[in-house]
């Protein structure tokens, strides 16, 4: 029962141009002021993501943390590192936020990190400044 908004095939007026794909170093946020919000944009091997630059926990600048994979659930005292899900790690209390969904990795909290739609077209990167309008059941 999910009605997902179709991804735009053309840049409309919600989108801000934030630079060229080549401007971005992998896993390094670039931060922009978009529609009054501080938004971090990052290039990863899974594509581009954009998140609100404010940690829902205590307000730290998420984009000054780290981006990468994380440890998945495992047996006691065993570790399994995976990059199937990429997270942003808050520079303060290290809460992990899934770049694609804004959900807390490991469900340590029900709070969510705001994410923004990213569009890459002709080697240029565009970010929608308003919250992504995705309808989920």
């Amino acid at each position: 029962m999910t009605a997902e908004q179709a991804l735009p095939t053309a840049v409309d007026d919600r989108f801000h141009h934030v630079g060229a794909v080549t401007d971005f170093d992998e896993n390094t946020f670039r931060v922009y002021l978009l529609d009054g919000r501080s938004v971090g944009v990052v290039k990863t091997k899974a594509g581009f993501f954009a998140v609100n630059n404010t940690c829902p926990h205590q307000g730290a600048a998420i984009c000054e943390g780290r981006v990468g994979g994380t440890m998945t659930a495992s047996d006691p005292h065993q570790y399994a590192y995976s990059e199937d899900v990429l997270v942003a790690v808050c520079p303060w209390h290290r809460w992990e936020w899934e770049l694609a969904t804004g959900r807390s990795y490991g469900q340590v909290t029900a709070r969510k990190l705001l994410t923004f739609e990213v569009l890459v077209q002709d080697g240029q990167v565009y970010v929608a400044g308003r919250k992504r309008r995705v309808h989920t059941a």
């Binding site: 390094t28 670039r30 931060v31 404010t54 600048a61 790690v89 303060w92 290290r94």
Partner: protein, 375 residues
């Protein structure tokens, strides 16, 4: 590393906080021990410069933090470690968060705990004190220093207190917690000097707890994960509390304040009840104390907020704050620039009940540090 096009500095405005804030736990650090050279004798330079002064008084491999014990966003333009640049800390923390006065606690003082060369320890702490007075307190009056003294050498501890008590910026005495019970009478000369000068004595984990033979141990045996160990750092705080109270420190020094910084608060509710019960089981008389333990806690002990509890319902925390008379005993702290620092905009607004915000935000600290609070 972040490429910042437009700064995304930490969110909300301060509209909820219309009072001054005293931050009772900020950590300055020296990046390289060479900065202490001007303050050290050649022999002690030789002793110290061959060593690596860890910020946390233990080998990092013993129980490494999985990411870092410091904030990932607190490295300044000079690339020194977080907390090593007074200007940067001012711009990142003190000014934007409206801190009117901060208590600097240099936990690198804990390095002396295992040193058998007592004289080197004394000189190193004296160097630390003068360095931070010069580079931080004289840089900005919002920086106040807890001067470090050696628990092993009372003569030098007293001398240091006498010399520095009235230096502008000095506000407390920090004593690294060694394998010496804090209530023992051998420490009384230090307590006496501190009380006489109106200086609180401040305790804070050094990192040596549960790691060095020359530091207090944790309960049970040895932890084997970082969260296990970190969550048990309240225990040395409990040990200090029990020791100073039942050791009669406050019968001898009724005006003295002992500050338990970064050990937590809420464990104190049931511990206070247990201490009173222990006292009652001996009819009061057996303990040798003049008063009930809880009275000393409320009069002479202060706790700091960070890390502030995150219960399922904040009213649970509020209930415990009432049990420990938080309007008298609790002071705000951030623990900047450690990884788990608390944002004062949240601590001093929605996380605390309205009637406690000003008390915790600055009033109790102002009473505790007196004019030295700088307010």
């Amino acid at each position: 590393m972040t490429a910042i096009i437009e700064t995304g500095a930490e969110a909300t405005d301060r509209s909820d906080i219309d009072f001054p804030v005293i931050d009772c736990d900020v950590h300055p650090m020296f990046g390289g021990v060479q900065v202490l050279r001007p303050y050290l004798s050649p022999r002690v330079q030789r002793r110290i410069f061959g060593q690596e002064i860890s910020p946390v008084t233990r080998d990092p491999n013993r129980i490494p933090h999985p990411t870092s014990g410091l904030r990932l966003d607190a490295v300044g333009p000079d690339q020194g470690p977080p907390g090593s640049n007074a200007e940067f800390s001012l711009q990142q923390w003190i000014i934007p968060f409206g801190i009117s006065s901060s208590v600097l606690i240099p936990i690198q003082a804990g390095s002396i705990l295992p040193w058998g060369d007592e004289q080197a320890g004394v000189e190193y702490l004296a160097a630390l004190n003068r360095y931070f007075i010069s580079e931080w307190c004289e840089f900005d009056s919002r920086y106040r220093l807890a001067i470090s003294v050696s628990p092993y050498n009372m003569k030098s501890a007293v001398q240091e207190i006498e010399e520095l008590a009235d230096v502008p910026g000095v506000c407390a005495v920090f004593v690294p917690h060694a394998a010496v019970a804090m209530g023992r009478s051998q420490l009384f000369p230090m307590y006496e000097a501190a009380e006489r000068h109106g200086l609180p004595v401040l305790l804070h984990p050094t990192g040596g707890e549960g790691n060095l033979r020359d530091a207090p141990w944790l309960a049970g045996g040895l932890p084997d994960t970082y969260p296990e160990r970190h969550s048990m750092l309240l225990q040395p705080g409990q040990a200090i509390l029990a020791s100073v109270i039942f050791g009669g420190v406050f019968d001898h020094f009724p005006k003295l304040k002992v500050l338990l910084v970064e050990y937590g608060i809420t464990w104190a509710a049931s511990m206070i009840a247990r201490m009173d019960k222990a006292w009652e089981l001996g009819d009061g008389e057996l303990s040798g104390l003049l008063r009930k333990p809880s009275e000393y806690v409320f009069d002479n002990i202060r706790f700091t907020t960070q890390p502030l509890d995150e219960p399922p319902k904040r009213e649970m925390l509020w209930d415990i704050l009432e049990m420990v008379h938080a309007e008298r005993t609790v002071m705000f702290s951030s623990d900047y620039p450690h990884w788990d620092n608390d944002n004062p905009r949240l601590t001093l607004s929605t996380r605390l009940p309205r009637h406690l915000r000003r008390r915790i935000g600055f009033e109790t600290a102002r009473e505790t540090f007196g004019a030295r609070a700088g307010l």
